[in-house]
């Protein structure tokens, strides 16, 4: 069966996933093009640096291709990708950046408070003024769609601590972003 590029571009994610699971790299390529920007944005919002974020996004796509037959079509494909990417990122942080999970974060906090408020277009810059753990918890919650309980389990943190990080992060963002 010949698959036309135009068919791929107009096909739904579900169709492309089915084709990809059957081994079509062309269909998977279309999925990559469709969701690459969203995943790369998500990785940066979690706190990954530019190159690292892109490498992890690439790895996520490769893993997703291997596991396409495990996608249950219960939610958007990008949500599934974000879940894979987030778990891998957290695992990497736990292995290499344990200091993020300690209580005293003062040595690792951003160097200065923002001098002015940010427009909504500068949202990503505003995020960089959050504490890394607050940013991570917020992104896992609001971007990847993890529940508070899921974040607590993923980060091996008490539920109350996760809720506090999220609340402080939200309050901070509400203050510095112009509505």
């Amino acid at each position: 069966m010949t698959i036309l590029t135009s068919d791929l571009k107009s096909g739904s994610d579900s169709d492309l996933v089915r084709l990809g699971a059957a081994g079509s790299q062309l269909a998977f390529g279309e999925l990559v093009r469709r969701h690459a920007n969203a995943l790369r944005s998500h990785m940066r919002r979690l706190g990954a640096q530019s190159h690292d974020a892109d490498d992890m996004a690439q790895d996520t796509f490769l893993i997703a291709f291997e596991r396409l037959d495990e996608f249950r079509f219960e939610g958007p494909f990008i949500a599934w990708l974000k879940t894979i990417a987030s778990r891998r990122y957290v695992k990497k942080l736990k292995a290499n950046h344990k200091y993020l999970f300690v209580d005293d974060m003062s040595p690792y906090e951003p160097p200065q408070e923002p001098v002015s408020k940010f427009s909504q277009n500068d949202f990503d810059e505003a995020l960089s003024y959050l504490k890394p753990i607050e940013r991570l918890c917020l992104s896992l919650n609001l971007s990847a769609g993890f529940t508070h309980q899921a974040i607590a389990e993923e980060l091996d943190m008490p539920l109350g601590t996760v809720k506090s990080h999220i609340k402080r992060g939200l309050d901070h963002l509400k203050q510095v972003i112009i509505p």
Binding site: Q25, G29, V32, A36, Q58, F61, L62, F123, L142
Partner: protein
């Protein structure tokens, strides 16, 4: 600013100028992985085939090869110059192959021992188990 506004900001997709480059990198790595895996399977098949073939070489035969080899050398002598030269060439080649085979005798004997089979079999199983465990760990 309300929470739902923040959620929409979190889900706002940034635009990257190198989206096509990124997608091509992913597909390139995918193709390489596929190619590498196929090559590895072919290589494993080849090694397995060689191993299986080596089991069929009866080692006692090598000790009987010498007289055969000598008679073959004697028959290659002829009065015709061209034929003699080509005969010498093939005799020489035969001698080298014979030497090579004799040198291999020790290794072939080793490969045919039960412990070699069990050690290599165990290593293969461990490699497959490690690969599978790593594959499972990637996502969960």
């Amino acid at each position: 600013m309300e929470e739902h506004d923040l959620i929409s900001l979190f889900n706002r997709v940034k635009t990257f100028e190198d989206t096509d480059v990124f997608a091509n990198k992913v597909l390139g790595r995918l193709r390489f992985k596929y190619w590498f895996r196929q090559s590895l399977i072919a290589f494993a098949g080849l090694m397995g085939g060689i191993y299986a073939l080596l089991q069929f070489i009866p080692m006692y035969a090598t000790s009987n090869l010498s007289p055969v080899h000598e008679s073959a050398s004697a028959n290659s002598v002829t009065s015709d110059q061209t034929l003699r030269l080509s005969g010498e060439f093939f005799t020489h080649l035969g001698e080298h192959m014979f030497e090579f085979f004799m040198n291999m005798e020790h290794y072939i004997s080793l490969i045919q021992t039960p412990w070699f089979f069990w050690v290599s079999f165990s290593l293969c199983i461990i490699a497959i188990a490690l690969y599978y465990a790593n594959f499972q760990e990637e996502l969960f």
